[in-house]
């Protein structure tokens, strides 16, 4: 079934997540994110931001409630189905890039396609296109250790977009970058969203949220305390 374009890309209903005896990381969270939206999730440490991101990525399961992404009940997926879901529908960008140091930039970017079994030529063309578009094509044959932080994050974004996922998840994408590199990444994400890419962005960086997000929510103790379209709390 192809999800309708009018349906939200993300639909969280009554989602709760508790860890053993601790307090709820998320409590009865309802959240809908439309296609093409860029959602910034703000909140202090321990507010449930990363838990939310993990649930959306299929890396964790809710204790209660439903997580639906692109029409798929993510909370019901098996380990293997979760992996396939991540391959095809989610791209992830991390604070510390999480590039594989022993692979070249090109090999890093190709990896999601190779895991998905994409034909070699098609994957190579897509990787070349992404590296060109993100301005790191000249580094294709070098290893990530030799790149600047901003360049590494660009490579990470290229890798995340390799399989054309409908959803891009970004966890503090500028958290490990200097100001100039942070600005580069900010522009990049804004551009992607302008091209229609749905983004969920977890950050402490208000400037990033203001620049990139079309909507902002704030989590405190696992609950949404603010949900503003086009409004960023300073």
């Amino acid at each position: 079934m192809t999800p309708s374009d009018t349906e939200p890309l993300i639909d969280l209903a009554e989602v709760g997540r508790t860890y053993e005896d601790g307090p709820a990381a998320l409590a009865a969270l309802d959240l809908r994110v439309a296609r093409g939206e860029s959602l910034a999730v703000l909140g202090p440490s321990g507010s449930g931001k990363s838990t939310l991101l993990n649930l959306l990525a299929g890396l964790d399961r809710p204790s209660t409630g439903r997580v639906t992404v692109d029409g798929l009940r993510v909370d019901r997926l098996s380990e293997t189905a979760s992996a396939r879901y991540r391959r095809s529908r989610v791209g992830m960008v991390f604070q510390f890039f999480n590039l594989l140091d022993d692979l070249t930039v090109l090999d890093n970017v190709l990896l999601p396609a190779q895991l998905a079994g994409t034909p070699r030529g098609k994957a190579a063309a897509r990787a070349a296109e992404l590296l060109e578009r993100l301005g790191v094509a000249r580094h294709a044959r070098v290893h990530p250790g030799r790149l600047s932080g901003g360049e590494r994050q660009r490579v990470a974004v290229a890798r995340a977009l390799m399989n054309r996922p409908p959803l891009l998840l970004a966890d503090e994408p500028t958290g490990a970058l200097d100001t100039a590199s942070g600005a580069e990444v900010r522009d990049l994400l804004r551009g992607l969203n302008a091209d229609g890419q749905t983004i969920v962005l977890v950050t402490h960086d208000l400037a990033l949220a203001e620049a990139c997000a079309t909507r902002t929510i704030e989590l405190v103790d696992g609950r949404v305390t603010r949900d503003d379209a086009r409004a960023v709390t300073r």
Binding site: A57, L59, D60, E79, A83, R86, N98, D102, L115, H143
Partner: protein
Amino acid sequence: MSARPSGPGGGALGRVVRAGVGRRRTQTAVMVLTTLLSVASAVLALGLLLASGAPFDRAFARQHGAHLTVRFDGAKVTPERLAATARATGVAAASGPFAVTALRLSADRSAPPGFAPPPLTVVGRASAGGPVDAVTLTEGRWATAPGEIVLERGSVPPASGPGTRLTGGSVALTVVGIAESVGESADAWVVPAQLTALAGGRPPALQMLYRLTAADGTAEVAAGRKAVTAAAPPGAVTGARSYLDVREAARQNTAAFVPFVTAFALLGLAMSVLVIGIVVSGAVGAATRRIGILKSLGFTPLQVGRAYVAQALIPGTVGAVLGAALGNALAVPLMAEVAEVYGTTEVLVPVWVDLVVPAGALALVAGTAFGPALRAARLPTATVLRIGPATGGGRGRAIRGLLGRLPLPRPVTLGLAGPFARPGRAASTAAAVTFGTLAVTLAVGLGSTLVAVKTDGDPDRGGDVTVHTITLAQGKPGDPTPRPGKPADVAAVAAAIAALPGTDSVYRTAHTQLEAAGLKGGAPLVAYEGDMAGSPHTMVSGRWFGATGEAVAASRFLTTTGVRVGDTVTLSEQGRTARVRIVGEVFDLGDGGMTLRTGAASVAALRARYQPADFAVTVTAGTDAVRYAQRLDAALSPLGAEAAVTEGSKSSVIRAMQALIVMLTLMLVAVACLGVLNTVVLDTRDRVRDLGVHKALGMTPRQTIAQVLTSVGALGLVSGLVGVPLGVALHGRVMPAMGRAVGTTIPPADIDVYGTPLLVLLATAGVVIATAGALLPAGWAARTATARALRAE
């Protein structure tokens, strides 16, 4: 809170050690298991090696066996004078005099022709103990009254034991015990008062048992004999035997074990050292960052080294103690087999092995932990803290890049590239797997050769159906002991066999003992008659006999007598002689490899007395051997003969060897698997972030397992390709050595047991060992929590 470094077991250092052991439970468990199996296999291997080395000597020493057993004429010397010989030059201790006589003991039923019991040396002795030849009771008790007899273990008639009634001359005797005299001082013992009756009124001979101050060689023993003879009246000594002769005979049995036990023992020891090294150094190497943290808290390099040694020694000690216990437990059944083969009462792992092996293993653990820990501790703290988990970084990037271009699924190419990231670790893992493959190859070769040897080394196992012309009849009601019946008429049996439909060919064999080639005691001879088409024989050289006057001989007969293929041997029986020409060396392990085989016509002139004959019948094609045997048995039963399908040979030596091979191989393979398991655990931990990234990018659990298994599978394949030829080469050296040790030549066909399909199969053993060792950690890798792994430092 400040962390004040102090000694292990207390204070900060103690807490660091305890935390290190408790935190890395998998690592700790692997280290316990590795030390356990390594120590167990080393204890077992060393114990067996020592048992193979000198079982006779140790058992002889335990019993204070007699270096010199001297028999005196009871009419020419008094017991008092004999007792004084204990003070002869060179005599350290003596037992006796004991009255002694030769006696044929038979069961209380009429023995059939061909079953005349051999004469036994019966000694009158009040107790089993004494300063010399303290014999060991293995069953029952010592004789305490006339009418009771204790039999030496090697002289117990079939189906006899405590309670069996025997007749010696006109005297009835009841067996009350079975005893073992390693020095073979007697075949049976009775109370001294009984001996006079057994001697038939004649003054019995007297036996003295001596231990000498020096008895290492023939010259020393001969000197002792001379001194004893000089101390006795002239002409009183009627015979003497040196323990060296007994030892030589005993060593024939143990000799076959030595080459392969040595090979396995050395393999086991080498592998134990290697795998302990891999596990311990790997564990310390993986803790570099933790070492940096400890240094930042104020630990000195030496304290860090001590902490990691202690951290490794805790699981190491647990493993070493349990391993020594396991090694001894496993040794019990194996040693029992070995003891049976060696003919000794007990073979145990020496206590010093139980102490030295675990101590050696712990020293190895400490040494391998201390070096890397000290090296890491001497690095600048800031550097160590920056290092973090080792992923291999830039090592082997070029080849890993090339592997990534292979037209294979990406998890496979990532796995193939894995070993190049940490070549040192990969090499040590490969070495462990190579040892494992080598052990498997050697074991399969030894097993195959032993099976072949068992089959080919028994020329008496001929035809599809074997007919015995004498049967064991059931005893009287209430007495379940079977007894031999009267031999059947050979001609009638032959006619019955010929008359039965389905008979293709048949030949008859009869065994006897003849004087041959000047051999002391003569040589066993098997005389053949009939169509020998179904005769199984494997020639070492020459050919099977054909014409009258030709014969074949077993290997040891040829080496003992110096006769060569082509030579003529004179056989004699009570003055009658026959000459046969040896036309071939037959592979024959029976009767100590001393048997001659020839046609009955070749030795007809000797008119020798044969044991009851056997027939070997080959059935026609399409005839069911089992049904044929049943029909033939029914036809022969009225004649007093019996027929049965020919069974394979049974050899306790080979059975014991096979049990040893299986046990030792399993242990070596288990140790190799542990080496792999440890490496994969370390790799998985080092690469946990990478695994998390892969999973975040969509790698499925199955792909993760495939990646991990491929990384070790490739190593396993290479190791297999190295280990198999090494195993084949070792087998090629061990088997001929085993043959030589027992005085025979193993036919090349029985050594060349590795066909191409088997070699290919064995080459996969490396892959099997590697993947078996990696299976568990691969599963753990697949289940790694991705979100946590992505945040791993």
